[in-house]
Symmetry: C2
Subunit: 196 residues, 2 copies
């Protein structure tokens, strides 16, 4: 069973009031380019992330706004910034890392909100059924890069508006030398887990 | 079969004449701390690496000098610098990436010499025999980080002066959330390769 890889670079989701703090009253995110998940887009706006040790500039805001503000970075970014975010599902922010976000009109000093996103596959309910993944919460996936391998704990994320795609971060992609649009293979438990 | 992980951050090996170009006549590398492979050490000296797009400062020189100059970086570093080095075994530099090395006394503009090091395991001949790895050139290895998985194409590198250890780069380590000194598990071909 194949799945296309989408590589998530560091990015930020904003709630409305935080967007106003960073970019000012009456600001609207503009679409730079769509991303595969329906309705979502990379915006023309970027911010600076600041950790305990260093900062990262030009970090893109994804739109539209959400009900929570969330910063997603890689472990490599985390070492660079000097912070230690947990591996989390999007939206699960309790106890996640503090981080500062700097925009053109203001700064946000978040007590929590920075995570390393878990590996996951977006899927429609009908695809999940078709691919025999009902009742399966996570799978392992083989990546076919020149430094290939298998990534474990790839969570199945079902919704009625999904575009079927596996999301991994830049560390996963760069470790295995895979990139956006490459194909990966979902390993069925019976073929793989017995060797663990 | 277990093996300890050693994570290789970006670093540089220098031949004698290149060391003199960068650091001046009569310069000697000083040991900052030993590394596990016998006789080798992290030196007190660092250089700047410069690629097509950006530069990386404070990149450590490993000692002692070698018969060739070699820069080892991760794919993440390569994107940052704006270069495209191949995955290679140490010393296999023909056709590898051009890179500029900047030292306190001079610069080197190398036509080749920058690689992404292959994953490998250092092993003594007697250990290779004991662990039933004779005649096996490469293995897959399971990493047990919170974002765990299996890395393929880990080359067996036998020598009489090896310290038994698996070397992976920072991308591999950060993708799987493992670090120096963590234990990994060598997967025997008969248990693993049939699933590929």
């Amino acid at each position: 069973m194949k799945v296309t890889i989408g590589v998530s670079n560091r990015h930020v989701h904003l709630k409305e009031e935080d967007m106003i703090t960073l970019f000012g009253e009456n600001f609207q995110l503009e679409e730079l380019r769509p991303i595969h998940q329906p309705g979502q887009f990379a915006s023309t706006s970027t911010v600076t992330l600041k950790g305990e040790k260093r900062q990262l500039d030009n970090v893109r805001i994804l739109g539209p706004t959400r009900s929570y503000t969330q910063v997603e970075i890689s472990k490599t970014d985390a070492y660079y910034l000097g912070i230690n975010p947990p591996v989390r599902m999007s939206g699960d922010l309790k106890g996640s890392s503090p981080i500062t976000i700097i925009g053109p009109k203001g700064e946000l000093h978040l007590k929590e909100g920075c995570i390393i996103a878990d590996r996951h596959i977006h899927i429609l309910p009908k695809q999940r059924k078709l691919y025999d993944l009902e009742g399966i919460d996570k799978v392992s996936v083989r990546l076919f890069g020149e430094k290939g391998g298998v990534v474990d704990d790839v969570y199945i994320r079902e919704s009625e508006t999904s575009y079927y795609e596996m999301h991994i971060d830049t560390d996963d992609a760069n470790a295995h030398l895979v990139t956006n649009g490459d194909m990966a293979e979902i390993l069925k438990g019976e073929d793989y887990d017995k060797n663990r």
